[in-house]
């Protein structure tokens, strides 16, 4: 009896113990092993840190951030070409050694790849500012390797300095972009300054436009129109990008920057924004006035805790009926909405949502006001007054609903009778999470209810801390 007489599940169990590099050799052993390694997605992610680090006993007990990274030596034949490998995600840190390794892998594997995702691991909060001072753009070196001959889709989920990959070929390939020019921890005035500087750098790299920068050195505050002039008549765009994820504060009051961004990415349909602001409503205005073709919107906002915003009213950060009204009335193509923050809703919110019957995903979660320690208890609880009738009416108006995660507040208790009725109106509902304020409500709905509704894949009723 020989190894290849094993059924696939045993080979699978063996493979689960092997690393990316070992598996890439396995994928070259024979056709059968190749198809198992490829089809069971063993080689979809190459996490450079995980694969290349030699575990260092001395640091085993400290957090991964503090552990000193010692990479095993990179030899020229470390990687082997894997036939039939079409998708690859590389998790790369912005470090020289990482890029050298990524480059080598792409050189060996590039020609079969149709889809590449570049991810970077989250930075630690401990040293948030370090990267803003970094003028070098290491990933620039990767440009040639990333734009491989068969590439159809390139997803860049990495931080700003990576974007200099922009070139003519990449404009025809890149479909999803995530840009982070945000501050890792809570914002402060200096981070705004850095992020403007980074935006300018970003716009410059996108090409075609003339940027005249007359800022005084180290000036923390400046206005894009007076201190920096941008002539965007010849801006080069990325026509294929439909998904854009941003972490920035330009949606607060930098309309010039937003205009420019829309020229660079003219076809955005899915938009995710993480930002800090002192007024929720004005950030939403910028989105709904400019991105009228949106199908998916996700917003996370926290409060700017810089000293100068001390006196701003927290009420301006509430997600209320008015915010929902702006979104629903101005974005008629919306299919998916995902908001989290301090909620203040009445039945009016549900009535507004009824105006868009095509909604498939609705997430309205209470998360308090982020970015600031607020001792006042009134900010930690949502203010929601939904009536049972309005919720049933809401269910009737959304026959296509697939996912619903919503705080229903303190004034109603979801009984089994109510839930049964609700679900009847939404035959496509798969994920249902209803958050309540009171502790003991979850006792009313037990697992039996879930088993009586086979359509539901995920079901939760209870307080928002799951």
């Amino acid at each position: 009896m020989f190894l290849n007489d094993f059924p696939t599940e045993i080979l699978n169990q063996i493979f689960t113990h092997l690393s990316f590099i070992d598996l890439s050799y396995c994928a070259n052993v024979c056709q059968r092993w190749n198809s198992i390694v490829i089809n069971y997605n063993y080689l979809t992610t190459f996490n450079i840190e995980q694969e290349m680090t030699i575990p260092h006993d001395e640091y085993q007990n400290t957090s991964s951030f503090h552990r000193k990274l010692i990479y095993r030596p990179v030899t020229s034949n470390l990687f082997i070409f894997v036939p039939n490998l079409k998708y690859l995600r590389i998790i790369v840190k912005k470090e020289k050694e990482d890029l050298k390794i990524a480059k080598q892998l792409l050189q060996v594997q590039g020609k079969t790849l149709e889809k590449i995702i570049v991810d970077s691991p989250p930075y630690s909060n401990d040293e948030p500012d370090e990267r803003f001072h970094d003028e070098t753009d290491l990933i620039h070196d990767l440009t040639d390797e990333l734009i491989t001959p068969n590439l159809r889709e390139l997803i860049l989920n990495a931080r700003l300095p990576i974007v200099s990959i922009w070139n003519e070929k990449s404009r025809q390939i890149i479909r999803k972009v995530a840009i982070d020019v945000g501050h890792q921890s809570q914002s402060n005035c200096w981070s705004c300054y850095y992020s403007f500087g980074n935006w300018l750098k970003f716009f410059e790299m996108c090409g075609g436009m003339k940027i005249t920068d007359n800022r005084a050195d180290h000036a923390p505050f400046f206005s894009p129109s007076e201190d920096v002039q941008i002539d965007s008549t010849n801006v080069k765009s990325f026509p294929l990008v439909e998904y854009l994820s941003l972490r920035t504060n330009i949606f607060r009051n930098q309309n010039g920057f937003v205009d420019l961004l829309l020229k660079i990415f003219p076809n955005i349909k899915q938009f995710e924004l993480e930002t800090w602001t002192q007024e929720y409503s004005s950030s939403i205005d910028v989105i709904v006035d400019n991105l009228i073709n949106l199908e998916h919107l996700k917003v996370r906002i926290w409060w700017c805790c810089g000293r100068k915003y001390k006196h701003y009213s927290l009420e301006q950060l509430y997600i209320n009926d008015n915010i929902i009204n702006k979104i629903i009335s101005k974005l008629p193509k919306l299919l998916s909405i995902d908001l989290e923050g301090h909620l203040e809703f009445s039945d009016t919110c549900l009535e507004i949502l009824n105006n868009n019957k095509n909604l498939k995903n609705i997430i309205l979660k209470h998360g308090g006001i982020a970015g600031h320690k607020i001792n006042d208890e009134s900010y930690t609880q949502p203010i929601i007054h939904f009536s049972e009738n309005a919720l049933i009416e809401f269910a009737k108006s959304h026959p296509l609903l697939d996912q619903l995660e919503i705080n229903i507040g303190q004034s109603m208790v979801p009984t089994i009778g109510f839930l049964t009725k609700f679900i009847q109106h939404c035959p496509k509902l798969k994920i249902l999470k209803l958050y309540v304020v009171e502790n003991d409500v979850s006792l009313l709905v037990d697992d039996k209810f879930k088993t009586s509704c086979p359509q539901l894949e995920t079901f939760y009723v209870g307080i928002s801390k799951e």
């Binding site: 169990q13 113990h17 070992d22 070259n28 056709q31 089809n39 992610t45 070409f81 036939p83």
Partner: protein, 210 residues
Amino acid sequence: MATNVEETYLYSSPTTFKVSSKDGEIFDIDDSFINQSKTIKNMLNVLDIADNHMPIPLQNIKGTMLNAAIVFCKYHKNDLLSIPDDEDEDDFERDAYEPRRSDDISEWDKEFIKQFTVEEGTLFDIIMAANYLDIKALLAVGCKTIANMVRGKNSDQVRQMFNISYDPPGEGLNTPRNSVTSKESGDNQLLTTQEKESRCKTPSPELMYD
């Protein structure tokens, strides 16, 4: 389906049954084996267990392997029986693949598995037996041992070690780079001669998963 009475009987009383191997050897098995082998447990639930003197035929397993499996189960009888089912972990849409440990084989297990690595081919027999009998712990030890053998080897070494004949995985569009092909085909010369002696058949590629 087992009735409650039968189950209580199975789980509580120290009972022995007889099993017979492919080559006709007969072994006594007790709770330690029954509790760890899902296959036997299911069989006993389905079969009429009133007469426990008739050996249960296990047509797929050689006597030596069956004996080894019984020894393994006896040693591990006090292990936590509820080993978590990690079958569900084989999620095809897994986000980031992270290899599972294979350096955690106990000393006793290492010694136990050694007898099969010495004699060529029997490691595969014991794994197949573990798979057939559905003894999770034994299967895990076997698979980890093979994973440890594969680790750090290149494709040629793996092929030679396990007597796998070389059929280039890349046909058509995705043929390996020239340099790789020439390197591999050079070694292929060596393998084709081996192939004549080897009984190893070349399986067809797996079907694509959607």
